[in-house]
């Protein structure tokens, strides 16, 4: 198991632990190999409780406009002459009998008595009368004074997914962890540091950061993997022991599955599936699926070779990075994207490799490497403005649209999808 990023926290005791401890029902000891790299990143408790709020009704937006509906009538400059009002509701409401009384009332507006007399409407003035006498109620006051209490001292370790590449972790330890450590080792705490650790259960990698007994943290992670976070004590060459650990989170793929159905009734070739993706609006994925072809493992190898040629180095371990992510980055760079623009769209591990080879990142190199190993033709790609705003209460996501030029497959496959560097979905 590879472990990375840790550093002693100032003030940690020096001596070596010699025995295991179990501090609470969640606790267990986990030994790991010594970490390979170190860096300092002290995580501070960031759990924010909002300040006490005062009840105020939300203000509607104020639009600074002239009240021209109430201004002098404007001349009829509109090309549209007045017509009889005919809306769906109005026209379809013929079935609804509007009483004569109501019609008459509608012609004689403006007085407050209209509501109760002329329209014979069911006014409900008793609403207010039925209200509790809230002003003097002790219960009312108790409920009006809204505030969140401090969270009780508890063991908490909860990992939540925000996106396939970002997790949120919050934690707290009920008892002073250092007291727990001391109860086992006495004063011989050596160089132990309280840390939070995120383990990629699929790839077998770990990320360790010094932390405090309570706080929260955002992790950059990989799609299509499984993670668990924990709080524990770490020291070089001494046993690691865990204090609390979280639930596990599976991050989803952010690209199509490489696996067609095994049942012949549902199986689909890569080229046909690319067509299916394209008609669903996922044209970037369609392009990638078509480019990778049916032999996913061969495509993975080819991708790694092409990428190594692109960056001029075979030293980087690409096994933990998805081939789709690598192709995505190369195609985007080939289309003129900068590394900065890619930063939030590819995994942090891939981004680090690209950053380390930044001087070799140019569109020509990327396209040359892709063209050599994949059946694609040269093309120009230009970004178009995105369209994601929507009406209504939901922020529903839409594919981002780009100007594209057709890019055809050299292999003469029946379907040659268009390439959209970051389109097809707005999931990146």
């Amino acid at each position: 198991m590879e472990t990375k990023v840790v550093k002693k926290k100032a003030g940690a005791a020096k001596e070596t632990a010699k025995s295991a401890i179990s501090v609470d029902p969640f606790a267990e000891i986990v030994e790991t190999s010594a970490p390979a790299k170190r860096s300092v990143k002290v995580i501070k408790a960031e759990a924010k409780v909002p300040a006490k709020r005062v009840v105020t009704k939300a203000a509607a937006p104020v639009i600074a406009i002239a009240a021209d509906a109430f201004a002098e009538p404007v001349s009829e400059t509109s090309a549209v002459k007045k017509r009889a009002v005919k809306t769906a509701t109005a026209s379809t409401s013929k079935a609804v009998a509007v009483s004569e009384t109501t019609k008459k009332a509608a012609k004689k507006p403006a007085k407050k008595t209209v509501r109760s007399k002329k329209l014979d409407l069911d006014v409900t003035p008793d609403i207010a009368a039925t209200e509790p006498n809230v002003e003097v109620s002790a219960v009312f006051k108790a409920l009006a004074d809204v505030s969140l209490p401090d969270l009780e001292k508890e063991n908490r370790a909860r990992l939540l997914m925000q996106t396939p590449t970002r997790l949120y972790f919050y934690w707290s330890v009920r008892q002073n962890p250092w007291q727990q450590l001391k109860s086992v080792f006495g004063d011989d705490l050596g160089s132990y540091t309280l840390v939070l650790k995120l383990t990629d259960l699929k790839r077998g990698t770990e990320e360790i950061q010094p932390c405090e007994a309570e706080g929260n943290w955002w992790f950059a992670v990989e799609p299509d993997s499984e993670y668990q976070a924990e709080i524990g004590f770490y020291a070089v060459n001494r046993p690691y022991f865990r204090i609390i650990y979280s639930n596990t989170i599976q991050t989803p793929r952010r690209s199509p599955s490489p696996r067609p159905a095994s049942d012949a009734k549902w199986t689909v070739s890569a080229n046909k599936f690319a067509e299916v993706l394209d008609v669903a609006g996922f044209s970037r994925d369609a392009f990638d699926v078509a480019m990778a072809g049916d032999d996913v493992h061969a495509a993975e190898n080819t991708t790694q070779i092409a990428f190594s040629q692109f960056i001029g180095s075979k030293e980087h371990n690409l096994n933990a990075i998805s081939a789709e992510d690598i192709r995505y980055a190369m195609l985007a760079l080939a289309s003129g994207f900068t590394l900065e623009e890619l930063r939030t769209r590819v995994s942090s591990a891939l981004c680090a490799i690209l950053q380390a080879n930044v001087e070799k990142l140019n569109a020509a190199n990327a396209l040359a490497a892709l063209s050599e190993y994949f059946d694609i033709d040269e093309a120009e790609w230009t970004e178009e403005e995105f369209g994601s705003a929507v009406y209504g209460a939901s922020l529903v996501h839409f594919p981002k649209t780009l100007k594209t030029k057709n890019i055809s497959s050299k292999s003469g496959a029946t379907f040659a999808p268009r390439y959209n560097p970051v389109s097809s979905h707005s999931l990146r």
């Binding site: 909002p50 109430f70 609804v96 997914m161 669903a280």
Partner: protein, 550 residues
């Protein structure tokens, strides 16, 4: 067999907002506006289409909080008052515009006619209870009503299995109360899915749920027909995923129909235009301006400033709605041809879900569009057939087995809207309450008698019938937890709209949960406080806390 199937799905949901402790409350207007602008027009259109033989067919989620509000006598009474007040203003406006602003007079007349029709429908046809109206439409075969998570809880961000299960099972129980049958489908709040949720649905007897596009497109194995056919999870629960093209066509602010220049401008409202003195009888007691729903201008142009908007002309907008409906159908036929060709003869199914409130509230002409859509699709063509997901399952067409991926329909496709730097502070409190709820239920399960001391002696309140104090507290604990879990609060905090109200609502439910839990644990029951909390947060009268036991 038609060329292709089309399934319109409307998601009607509002958070539970009910404040009996105040004579009036701004946020209750959300419900009142939706009744006037969305629910009444849609119900009336569906009923009229049905009676005319146009055979509309669609699925509609009427969320449990919305059902509870629509069936609530206090809110019904307050809505009546709200509508009457609006009619009074509209009538004043019709009189005023006749002489002062003739260019707006037709619109003013339209409002009077529409609102009076609405009042008649409300009082006479539906007896002030729109749940019955929806039920009637379902019983007549017009709509297939599906349920939703009990309080629109965002399941992947709920920490315990018991709390997730409660969101589903309480929703099903509530559905049965209102609609007298078992729901076939569920709208997972925000289409938020993660693997494993289908097991909760299966246990609750749910046959299918709605997901976002990539849940299926990125699922494993590759879906043979993409999102244009449902899949079933290995446990047999079917998944219907959103079609992107139809979403964009209606919903996109850039290319969507609602942005047409001829349609009514949403943000230009008499509540902000008219002199304050004139409006005062129609405002709340605080005299603050607010949207009142009478709007006189059309969009005019994307970049036209609010003070340069031109008068709204209903007849032209109506013609445009008819034109858009015809275009929409034309595009569906083209899409079906393309999909059928791609699928080598297999009939595609296009799932087209929207917030119901888009139709009428945000897009004033939306109900007209739906009216024209169903008329034209029935009378003018025979290539596309409108069905519901339940109809598709009944068709016997084979369905591929697949494991969908985690997803939501929110911005960027995952959970960012509901967990981010601005609202992550909520989750430790919510999760503590979730854990504590099950612990308290389990503890209560071990105690045959009610909580002791003052509690048992003071249990004189009749509101909760024959329930013991501890059972009342446990039931109310469940309500407070459910209300705290509403995804609406985190959403609005992220959106930056009604942040104070949403934060306060979340905090108040957590606070009430803690008050009640302490009563239960100490046995020191404040009956006045308990009754008041029950009176305010009275959602789900039928609730049984035992659903939280593991």
């Amino acid at each position: 067999m038609p060329l292709g199937y089309f399934s319109l799905i409307l998601h009607a949901h509002l958070p539970f907002v009910r404040h009996p402790e105040y004579p009036e409350f701004l946020e209750e207007d959300w419900l009142y506006e939706a009744i006037t602008e969305v629910y009444l027009p849609l119900i009336f259109i569906f009923q009229t289409l049905h009676e005319s033989g146009a055979k509309p067919r669609l699925a509609m989620n009427v969320s449990p909080p919305l059902c509870e509000m629509l069936a609530d006598p206090l809110l019904q009474q307050r809505y009546t008052h709200h509508l009457e007040n609006l009619i009074e203003l509209a009538v004043k406006e019709e009189f005023r515009t006749r002489s002062e602003s003739p260019e707006f007079h037709d619109v003013a007349k339209m409002y009077v006619e529409n609102l009076i029709s609405s009042l008649n429908l409300w009082n006479d046809r539906y007896k002030r209870n729109l749940v019955n109206a929806f039920k009637e439409l379902q019983d007549e075969g017009v709509i297939e009503i599906i349920t939703c998570c009990a309080t629109h809880g965002f399941l992947p961000l709920i920490s315990t299995l018991e709390s997730r299960r409660a969101q589903v099972e309480i929703a099903v129980t509530n559905y049965k109360k209102h609609f007298g049958r078992q729901p076939r489908g569920i709208w997972l709040a925000e289409c938020a899915y993660e693997p494993g949720i289908e097991d909760l649905l299966k246990t609750a007897g749910i046959e299918y749920f709605i997901s976002d596009t990539h849940a299926i497109l990125y699922g494993d194995p590759r879906p043979r027909y993409g999102v244009h056919a449902p899949v079933v999870t290995p446990n047999g629960t079917a998944v219907f995923a959103r079609d992107v093209e139809t979403s964009q066509q209606v919903w996109s602010a850039e290319i969507g129909y609602p942005g047409n220049d001829l349609y009514r401008e949403f943000y230009r409202d008499i509540g902000w235009d008219a002199p304050l003195d004139y409006l005062k009888p129609h405002l709340h007691a605080d005299g603050e301006r607010r949207h009142l729903g009478l709007k006189y201008h059309r969009i005019t142009g994307r970049d036209v400033p609010q003070n340069r908007k031109e008068p709204y002309i209903p007849a032209m907008a109506r013609d445009k709605a008819a034109e858009n409906a015809a275009h929409f159908i034309g595009e569906r036929i083209k899409q079906a041809h393309k999909l059928r060709e791609t699928f080598e003869g297999h009939p595609p199914l296009v799932i087209s879900p929207y917030d119901a409130e888009l139709y009428g509230h945000w897009w004033f002409e939306g109900p007209q569009f739906i009216d024209f859509f169903f008329k034209k699709i029935h009378f003018d063509q025979n290539e596309i057939e409108c069905i519901t997901p339940g109809d598709f399952l009944d068709s016997g067409l084979p369905i591929q087995v697949q494991k969908p991926t985690a997803s939501s329909w929110g911005e960027n496709g995952y959970y960012k809207v509901w967990i981010n730097e601005g609202n992550s502070w909520m989750y430790p409190y919510q999760h503590d309450a979730e854990r504590r709820m099950t612990e308290l239920c389990l503890t209560a399960g071990c105690q045959p008698a009610s909580v002791g001391g003052k509690a048992s002696q003071k249990n004189e309140d009749t509101q909760a019938g024959s329930l013991r104090s501890d059972e009342r507290i446990l039931n109310q604990l469940a309500r407070e937890l459910l209300l705290a879990q509403s995804s609406d609060w985190a959403f609005q905090i992220y959106q930056g709209t009604t942040v104070q109200y949403s934060s306060r609502r979340f905090q108040s439910h957590i606070q009430r949960f803690n008050m009640l839990a302490n009563m239960l644990e100490t046995g020191d029951v404040d009956h006045e406080l308990l009754s008041e909390i029950e009176n305010r947060d009275n959602i789900f009268a039928e609730i049984d806390y035992r659903v939280y036991r593991n």
